[in-house]
Symmetry: C2
């Protein structure tokens, strides 16, 4: 049975449609729309700082179509040589600490010094994305209209690994397009801050002061990853609390072994809303850069990140291939049942599952 | 050219050897040595508490020979039903904190109460193994000769995953043989404490007091894993320092989110050498057991550990299969070179490597 047509707006088969549009004009529009640019065109336009081409290339990176990915890979390999002049800053913090206000304030501070700033996000709940989804123009109002700033929401995707890969590739494109500061935002409530930490040169944890319970319920490992903790909203009645929080965080940082880079993580306060303290944060990041570029740990960290992503990508793919095998997933449910009943050991069960995929 | 014989003690070809041994006696010894016991024999002997059969079954578990592993798996599946009456205690601490003295003291305390205690180690640098390698009879002197104790060094093996699997299977055999307390020792300096944490019901971190710098250089995550921190060597001049350390550790424990089991990790002091405080540690472990067995988290933790080992085994095997492919390992070296030269992205390189294995 064919589906009943529920609209009056349909053609009758065999009756040709009247030419209501100017055919030549329509063809011209179509030709432009469908125009496929070559890898050479992409690369030269991106290197010339073209934002439309940068955006288009990011769309290729984000595409799941094989031909798009192939083109994206070719563009990326050509852009790689230009990627090393930038600094990549990761910013994390739970919702409510003022990440978008901070990025707005710090980003504007940088563009005022003729820096070019790209802002990316790694998860759909970040402020960058919320702004774009809600059309909330008050978020990063100044940066959105700043010609030296480029804001791109995180790619949609179900797996963090996939989103992280696309974000990391987008960083390379932004750098080739002349953005010397790339800020990657993440919400510090999931696994994504580990991913961000593995793609940035400097990792900043944003906090606000509370009633002395700053360290309660803090997420495992997040303080250890931080190159700096910045206590935001240090204004008005909060100034005193921020100072107390600063002491508490300084004490917490001392619980961790020294970093390989010899950098001693700092705790600073700021009021992003009043643009106070942002200059000191910038000075600290510059101190970090001159230390780590002098002692070689800047390059070393990037090299290690490359290897991290090589192995992480391989291992994620191996797992995906295995668990997406229908026979495996059926047998896996059975194996977990048997484990729960106590009739098999995890090692026996694993061996049987691995035989299926061979 | 044949190798020049450098010994005078060789036979001349074609000359038969004199019968210097009693052939019948030799055959009898060989027959006994080669006697293969059936799975049924193993299981019934282990369940009857036979230490020779327990040891022999552990040797099967540790063997890399396929026929041995098959037999071991059959024995293990039959022993599983008896595994749930025991408590598994993990003990970690850096060299010098007195792990062997502590296990000797606590183990003897338990056997004095008619408990049966098995002591296993997960890494070759633990005190259990050092004792056996060096033949150092002063280590765990009392336990070694205690009929209610069973001490087994960790299996040799290059990968932690492999050693952990064998240790976990050995636990099952010990439990089936009637050991109601299984102590697994590890040196808290590597990755092995995560493996131990994933196979025990209670995880105890052993420390000594220092000059107030107890928390300096502490290993990531290890405090978070601990169900208790015990400060050993709290005797003589150390009593006061141990009290200070106790306060510092109590403060550090408060930095972590509460455990799902509702158990609040404790800090205790003891002097294993003088057998002081060991009774309080045992009382604490009993408190833990009655809490977690009542609220269901004891069983839940074991179930989760089974799933952890199922997935960990699968994923380790997938990686081993991939990286042990000769073509892959050659291409991997090249890919890392290209990454270092900046001529490829980690994602491109990963994709190329994955194609090799397909």
């Amino acid at each position: 049975m064919t589906k009943k047509k529920t609209t009056a707006l349909h053609e009758v088969d065999g009756v040709s449609q009247p030419e209501t549009t100017n055919k030549m004009a329509a063809d011209k529009i179509k030709a432009t729309r469908n125009r496929q640019y070559s890898v050479d065109e992409y690369v030269s336009q991106i290197l010339a700082g073209s934002i439309p081409f940068l955006s288009r290339a990011i769309t290729l990176v984000e595409s799941t179509k094989a031909s798009h990915q192939e083109k994206a890979n070719a563009i990326l390999e050509r852009c790689l040589a230009y990627a090393n002049k930038s600094v990549r800053i990761g910013i994390t913090g739970v919702p409510g600490v003022g990440k978008s206000t901070f990025i707005e304030s710090y980003g504007s501070y940088l563009t005022a010094q003729n820096k070019k700033v790209a802002v990316l996000a790694i998860d759909p709940s970040s402020s960058v994305n919320k702004g774009s989804i809600l059309g909330d123009k008050t978020r990063m109002e100044a940066l959105v209209t700043d010609p030296n700033a480029f804001i791109r929401p995180s790619p949609s995707g179900t797996s963090l690994g996939g989103v992280a890969q696309k974000t990391r590739e987008t960083i390379i494109l932004c750098e080739a397009a002349g953005f010397d500061t790339v800020i990657i935002e993440t919400v510090g409530v999931g696994q994504s801050e580990t991913a961000v930490h593995s793609m940035v040169d400097f990792f900043l944890l944003l906090k606000i002061s509370g009633a002395g319970d700053e360290l309660q319920g803090i997420k495992r490992g997040i303080i250890e990853m931080a190159d700096a903790i910045v206590i935001n909203k240090a204004d008005g009645d909060n100034v005193q609390n921020a100072k107390i929080a600063k002491t508490a965080f300084n004490r917490a940082l001392h619980l961790y072994p020294p970093k390989e880079s010899k950098w001693i993580p700092k705790v600073l306060t700021c009021s992003a809303l009043n643009h106070e303290g942002v200059d000191k944060i910038d000075a600290m990041i510059n101190d970090y850069l001159s230390l780590t570029k002098t002692n070689g740990s800047f390059d070393k960290r990037r090299q290690e990140q490359n290897k991290y992503w090589l192995f992480a990508t391989i291992e994620q793919q191996l797992k995906d291939n295995f668990y997406n095998n229908t026979l495996v997933s059926e047998a896996l449910s059975k194996a977990i049942e048997d484990l729960e009943k106590g009739t098999t050991t995890p090692f026996n069960a694993a061996e049987k599952l691995l035989k299926i995929n061979r």
